[in-house]
Subunit: 495 residues, 2 copies
């Protein structure tokens, strides 16, 4: 039995009937032969590895009256068949049909009476492909731990076979109510407002750090709603000195866009891929990292999409860029350790080369801000990125996004993935597409991941705010074409 | 703008996070050629007929604070693409894969911000088949009206083409809050307890009529929980005289079974078919109606299933048998007009011929009880079957089913369907399988429907209470084999 951290449980508290805080991975694999059956192969592979996959076997035990964060226990009733499901896309089985199914599958909350994950084996795809969508709740793993977990689920050689220690694990009996209440007393965590307090303070710190008037307003709004002991505690934590040792930065506002509104319960998903070598070589030509190029492509793609709709704001859009806080020395391997910073996207910059330069500068600035943040904002103290997306602050955004700009326009995340090929039985994985989450006020998320020789883009949006998400995905790819042409022209060996 | 009847809105009030009150129809069709595309064909057919399909175009407008039943308006934002979806089953695409997908698709509530229906075109089936699952909320249509509606959606000749008047309909603007509140005042319906009152009184009447001690206990429990003006009203309605003019019947208890418990949010579905001519000829041999045979098959199938599990009770299981109250002269065509009666199933009777005789007698008795019910129990007064399945009474069952027997064990419904073939474009429909609903305390529903030369059985159950629903479906079919052999033997021309 283990207790959830403050940040882990933030992801549970934030969930409601239209905001879902699970994250997913879409694997696209090659069918090694016509008679290969992906569903039994994947089910067997999971059964053989489940002893290593602790987050997939544990389920929640809530503490009565929410007096403390919930606990995880190794589920004594664990049933793999509940979690592994067999699905299919209709003909013609192209990427459009796959993306539509993904949007539908991720648009529902998970069942908290079971371990918080589901894996769909998807057949019916053209070109001898099949896919696996694995959804895991963000309270169980963060993005980096999720990637690690997925690598444990997959094999690094074809037909790796069954590990010797397969099947060696045991369930735990759920604790009695008396037991969890006694632990709550021992922990001294008897203030239900603790998580909220930490989230609100983290929000204030980030606001002051970025000098983003929207975030400052927001943090003040949240703090203003706190009354009694909680409000006093929060205000007691403030000091002018702390304000002044942070670097002064220009104000950064987030202009209104079609996707910065309260979201519906429906999702649209779109995925695209670029050859990793091409992205690297373009980056090298202009002295930019892959991250710079990804942010520039998002900025350029959004610029095109907004221009086409006559909705391009004069000021740049802003993106929340998640930052992993993992050092590699974590004692609790699977706990959330994620934070975030805010960067301007070059949606206001003309020319693809100019956009890469602007992206590089914006990310550099965002990194400096992040480093300057007080060290007390550890993951256990509830992090930054997560609370901004979720809980009280997210709810404030909901009310507030109808009357003013959002604290940031979208989430852009670029995660390095495995560089060596992975397998399900004999079937090689070709793409490893991230599927993240959206929230009220922030109805668009672009997450990008590298895998062997591919850079896979996963775009998720509220289906009612962005029914035409596919156009944005196309615009991002078109932006890469424009950037490559501009680089070739600049270096004199192209048209 | 039209207001929902009391019974229509009972089906809305009864819905929660694990009880869903939509009913569905599973059509299994034959692909007329290899290049036939079912999704565009079905979408086009619906677009051409939507002007006739009023219940599919209207959406709810609730009255603030639940002061009155909600209204229907012709949805001004109607979007056919929201409702018609394209899905597929994974290989091998047999009935098992189809049933699993159906169980998954029906296990979610509908979105009340849109007209309350969804239609899934399902590909990937073997034997050149495809399927269409159409889910409609029970507040929009009852079973009989749903069948009528479906016949309007389908064509009675292949490739019937577009009707001349296609597309002639208009949406309505949602009424203002002031308008619906003003109407509530005019209607004089300002007692939020009205629907509950009617449901509770109907429950008492049925209880006294059947002399079922479980139902009487239940009705008393519900009445006992009503306090203040509502309780007084209900008690004022009682009179000894009314009790005494109803026929005295033997007590009918419902024994405990594995499926009479609170249900989960998951569903298992199983469908089977019998040749209608065979069922008719067996019935004719023994002087029984199709309805008698269906009830006998359910009784015999359940007997086998319960015996195999060592769970067969000594006393017979009881079934709620819905009764349509339609006269054909209804002014409001789509309003719910359904009631129900309770019949013993011959689960305690040995021998298939004996079970048909017992079923015939039980249904005869149930019909007499139904006719003897006071005429004031009109559909507008909230009916009988529906409130027993739902609302306050259903919630009482939930609490109470853990300590005692349910008011009935399952729902068994046999509905005559179309006798002439129906089409989607050029594609002929082969089966027309009903998919009904389950509720807390009543985790099993067997609904049977005839279509041309088939008798299609649709079994729905809570997936956690009856993961082995397929065994019951097989047992029902095996029972028909046993009955046919017994009939052949009795008439001297069989083994």
């Amino acid at each position: 039995m283990k207790q959830l951290s403050g940040l882990d449980s933030v992801f549970l508290d934030a969930e409601d009937d239209h905001q879902f805080t699970h994250v997913s991975q879409l694997l696209i694999l090659e069918r090694p032969s016509a008679d290969f059956e992906p569903y039994p192969a994947w089910r067997r592979q999971l059964a053989d590895r489940i002893h290593q996959l602790e987050p997939l076997r544990r389920r929640l035990v809530p503490v009565p009256f929410g007096l403390d964060h919930p606990y995880w226990i190794a589920d004594p009733d664990f049933d793999l068949d509940f979690h592994v499901r067999h699905s299919a896309v209709p003909p013609p089985g192209g990427d459009a049909e796959l993306d539509e199914l993904i949007g539908r599958l991720v648009a529902a909350p998970m069942d908290r009476d079971h371990p918080l994950w589901v894996s769909h084996v998807i057949e019916g795809l053209d070109d001898d492909r099949f896919a696996i969508l694995t959804m895991i709740h963000h309270s169980a793993v963060d993005g980096a731990a999720g990637a690690e977990l997925l690598e444990l689920m997959l094999e690094d050689t074809p037909d790796a076979g069954r590990p010797a220690e397969a099947g060696r694990w045991r369930g735990e009996s759920p604790p009695s109510t008396t037991e969890v209440l006694a632990r709550a007393a021992v922990n001294g965590v008897r203030r239900p407002g603790r998580g909220l307090l930490l989230a609100a303070r983290a929000g204030q710190k980030l606001a002051r750090a970025t000098r983003n008037p929207a975030v400052i307003d927001l943090a003040d709004t949240v703090r203003g709603t706190l009354r009694g002991p909680l409000g006093s505690l929060l205000n007691a934590g403030r000091s002018r000195e702390e304000d002044d040792r942070l670097p002064r930065l220009p104000p950064l506002t987030s202009p209104p866009t079609p996707f910065n509104h309260p979201i519906s319960r429906y999702r649209r998903f779109a995925h695209r891929s670029l050859p990793l070598a091409d992205v690297k070589s373009v980056g090298k030509e202009v002295g930019a990292t892959i991250n710079d190029v990804v942010v520039a492509l998002c900025g350029g793609g959004l610029r095109r999409w907004l221009l086409d709709r006559g909705e391009l704001p004069d000021s740049p859009l802003t993106a929340m860029v998640p930052v992993s806080l993992r050092s590699g020395d974590e004692e609790e391997r699977w706990t959330n350790r994620v934070s975030g910073t805010i960067a301007a996207l070059p949606t206001d910059v003309d020319g693809p080369l100019e956009r890469v330069r602007a992206a590089h500068e914006a990310l550099d600035l965002a990194k400096q801000v992040f480093k300057a943040l007080p060290g007390e904002l550890t993951p256990e103290a509830a992090g930054l990125g997560a609370p901004l997306m979720t809980t009280a602050i997210s709810r404030a955004v909901t009310r507030w996004s109808t009357v003013g700009p959002a604290p940031f326009n979208l989430i852009v995340s670029n995660v390095p993935g495995p560089s060596e090929p992975l397998y399900v039985g004999p079937a090689p994985m070709r793409h490893y597409v991230p599927v993240s989450a959206v929230a009220d006020g922030v109805g668009l998320n672009v997450t990008v991941q590298s895998y062997v020789d591919q850079l896979d883009f996963g775009l998720l949006a509220c289906a009612e705010l962005m029914p035409d998400l596919d156009d944005l995905a196309d615009a991002i790819i078109a932006e890469f074409g424009a950037l490559r042409s501009a680089v070739a022209e600049a270096s004199g060996d192209g048209a």
